[in-house]
Amino acid sequence: MLTSFLTKPVHIAPLAMFRIVFGLVMLISTIRFWLLGWIEDQYIKPVMHFTYYGFEWVKPLGAVGMYLVFIAMGLTSFCIMLGLFYRVSSVLFFLLFTYVELLDKAYYLNHYYFVSITAFLLTLVPAHRYFSLDILLRPALRVEHVPRWTIDLFKLQLAIVYFFAGIAKINSEWLLEAMPLRLWLRAQDKLPLIGWAMPFDLTAYLFSWAGMIYDCTIVFFLSWKVTRVLAYLAVVLFHTITGMMFPIGVFPIVMIGATTIFFSEDFHKRAISLIASVLHRALPLSAQSPATLSAKTYQTRWQPLVLMLLAVHFALQFLLPFRFLLYPNNSWWNPCEFFWNEQGYRFSWRVMLVEKAGTAIFYVKDSVTGREGVVNNAEFLNPTQEKQMSFQPDMILEFAHFLRDYYAAHGVTDPQVRAEVYVTMNGRPGRLLIDPTVDLAKEKEGFHYKSWILPFERQLVSASQ
């Protein structure tokens, strides 16, 4: 039953359009990243990088190497858009993009994670077998129909993104305190049309609740054809407004582009014939007449294997956002402890959910002389790295290890590193994030519970002891 549902032939047009839109958005994103000088700022200039646990071996390639990576990324995304050498370019793009993302978690963004996943999923589907340069080169590749799963897997992935982003907002901070929007919206009083409403608490409550309901339900309304057009307008409106308010880069166009996959195959067929007619007028390609070719259905002997792989992928997608509950004190409705210690926070579609900022002062002590110095973080980190490190315990630990190694090589004997880190969360007065007496040089990174992270509700803890 399930198999016949998943393998039912459907028209390939939505998949081809998805490939085109994704390739285009990634091309824009790559060029934008380059023009803003971020290749230099984020991957060439910094003297240290915050690695992901288990991926410490992923290192930047130096200036020439990094620019080559981005050139290759731009070229492969362009090829994905054109459907040229698709199998190779989609795999290459996935590897290059994920490589860059793994270099430094200071720049972690949920939508980059989404791009990596989408790029991976695109390597598994025949998105180039319709309206592409590949079929111009090899007409035999062309198919008219594909098994349903090749399209629905993107819908499911999008549903996961929105749904988990939505239920992550069902917590006391977001719904009852309207935090962090009560802080963030206030700064948006210069927006055209709606700026005047931003300083009011009521606006923050309205945006908080509307955002939660939007995220939880939008995929349902996009899937239902009665509400689809209105729901898509809501998508455009929602992402345009958030894009104007917050520095979230290409995220709005990624989502506005990706959600077009929910439109019907007729819509996509019409869109493609529109693009085709424009192209025909511009380019002498009129010899191509797709109608003369037979309507084939895509088949692959790898299908059972790919479906199994997808089952594993989606199972992980459903489980990862819940892993934070495995750590002591973390709870869903009252999120303070969890937002505070961030154990199990990433890769869970927790998008713009909490306002945190910290000031981290590191002390390095010579074990022989007992002399203790104060580190100037800006000497080693760029502003983004310093900002992100200052409130995320795993990054604080990694920086401490970096300082240990650096000063050991610069004449400090067996350096001990401790840090005084004051963090403000959702506008509360700053308090100590980690135990300032612990020698971080001796603590280990890992998935275990880190006892040197101080609990958020300290009074409660000491009262219960």
């Binding site: 700022d41 009852l176 206030r186 609740w209 509400t227 209105l230 900022a357 104060v374 506008g427």
Partner: protein, 380 residues
């Protein structure tokens, strides 16, 4: 009437619209529920007029600071020229005095190291504010008759290099005798002219930039508020890290204090300049005019308009009081001597500066939703 009713019925039949209506209703209810039983957050709804704050900062801080700096630098140049034309103890004293006044004026302008203060060759601070100065290099350049001010040897120029030339010997007579060398006179004149050229350029550019500064009143990256805030924090940290931390030997790897690295080492006036600099910072925070004591719009007023902001202002001012207490406990001697003779009192001052950082840096930025810098990348 009929039509409106029909339209309403159609709208409410549409799931998305009923969703919007429900959301509005729930959110309104939630707001009332929360505002009724939650006393911990102030339900402030007053918006803050950032443009007025920026106007105050531009017209009562930045522009006057630069024009005062400009006139004090002119006076310094006149005094230095008089001294080099006919060196005498009186002329030297006058030049020293003029330097001190100009460098004092600099403490009130150095925080505004953005906008017109930045050019392709660096910021005004990098061009004229660098310390410790490199005495050996200066002597070398005098010997080589190298009077160029275009290279990147910035520790051979600026206010602290002038200070070295005017103060570095123990008696006035010794200093004067060294200036019998015409190359030394020319070097001094060249670096003073360089300070003047840079200050003039920035002050004039500010006159043209002023209107843009005031109207660029958003909060995103590149807005006036965000640039002002960033340089404000940087300036505060400069006191902590370089004016106190570095000579006190506070950097990891320093094996002892390095008192010769204080600002204004040769004149022995480091504490005075730290005091002026810190006062400049406090006045910007409060939006308070230095001459008249009028308390106009500043960061403190801005903070009071946001949730939890009033509490932050109270704790910030309390900590600033501690910082000033420790600063006032410094003896009336050159800082370089105090570091050697009474290290504990310098250390205590540094500790309070350190404790103060978070109030200015992370907590203020967080409550005001200010982004750090241009290269800070995207958020999500």
């Amino acid at each position: 009437m009929m039509r409106t009713a029909l339209l309403l019925r159609r709208l409410s039949a549409n799931p998305l619209w009923s969703l919007v209506l429900t959301t509005t209703a729930i959110a309104t209810a939630a707001t009332f529920a929360v505002s009724c039983n939650n006393g911990t957050t102030e339900g402030s709804t007053d918006s803050f007029d950032r443009r007025s704050m920026l106007r105050n900062i531009a017209e009562n801080f930045i522009i006057p600071s630069y024009s005062e700096l400009q006139s004090k630098v002119n006076a310094m140049q006149a005094a230095v020229n008089a001294f080099t034309a006919s060196p005498s103890e009186a002329a030297l004293r006058a030049a020293q005095q003029a330097w001190e006044e100009a460098y004092t004026a600099w403490q009130y302008a150095c925080t505004f190291d953005f906008g017109p203060a930045t050019t392709s060759t660096g910021t005004l601070f990098q061009k004229i504010g660098v310390f410790p100065t490199n005495a050996a290099r200066i002597e070398e350049r005098i010997q080589q008759r190298n009077f160029s001010t275009d290279d990147f040897s910035r520790d051979t120029r600026g206010f602290n290099a002038v200070e070295y030339l005017l103060f570095s010997d123990s008696t006035l007579a010794q200093i004067i005798s060294r200036f019998s060398n015409p190359d030394r006179r020319q070097y001094l004149q060249a670096i003073v002219a360089d300070i003047k050229a840079n200050v003039d350029a920035t002050a004039n550019a500010w006159q043209r930039y002023r209107a843009e500064f005031i109207t660029n009143d958003g909060t995103s990256v590149g807005s006036s508020t965000s640039m002002l805030f960033n340089e404000f924090v940087k300036s505060f940290e400069h006191i902590k890290n370089f004016k106190v931390g570095l000579p006190a030997g506070k950097r990891p790897g320093q094996t002892r204090p390095e008192p010769q690295k204080v600002e204004a080492f040769y004149s022995g006036k480091s504490v005075k300049f730290i005091r002026e600099h810190l006062q400049a910072i406090e006045m910007i925070y409060l939006g308070m005019h230095r001459r008249t004591g009028i308390d106009d719009l500043g960061f403190d007023d801005y903070l009071r308009s946001v949730p939890n902001g009033a509490a932050l202002v109270i704790s910030t001012l309390a900590q600033l009081e501690l910082v000033k207490q420790r600063m006032n406990a410094l003896p009336d001697a050159p800082l370089s001597q105090t570091i050697v003779s009474n290290f504990a009192v310098v250390d205590a001052f540094h500790t309070e500066l350190q404790r103060h950082t978070r109030f200015f840096k992370s907590e203020m930025a967080s409550l005001l939703s200010l982004t750090i810098t241009f290269s800070s990348g995207d958020g999500d």
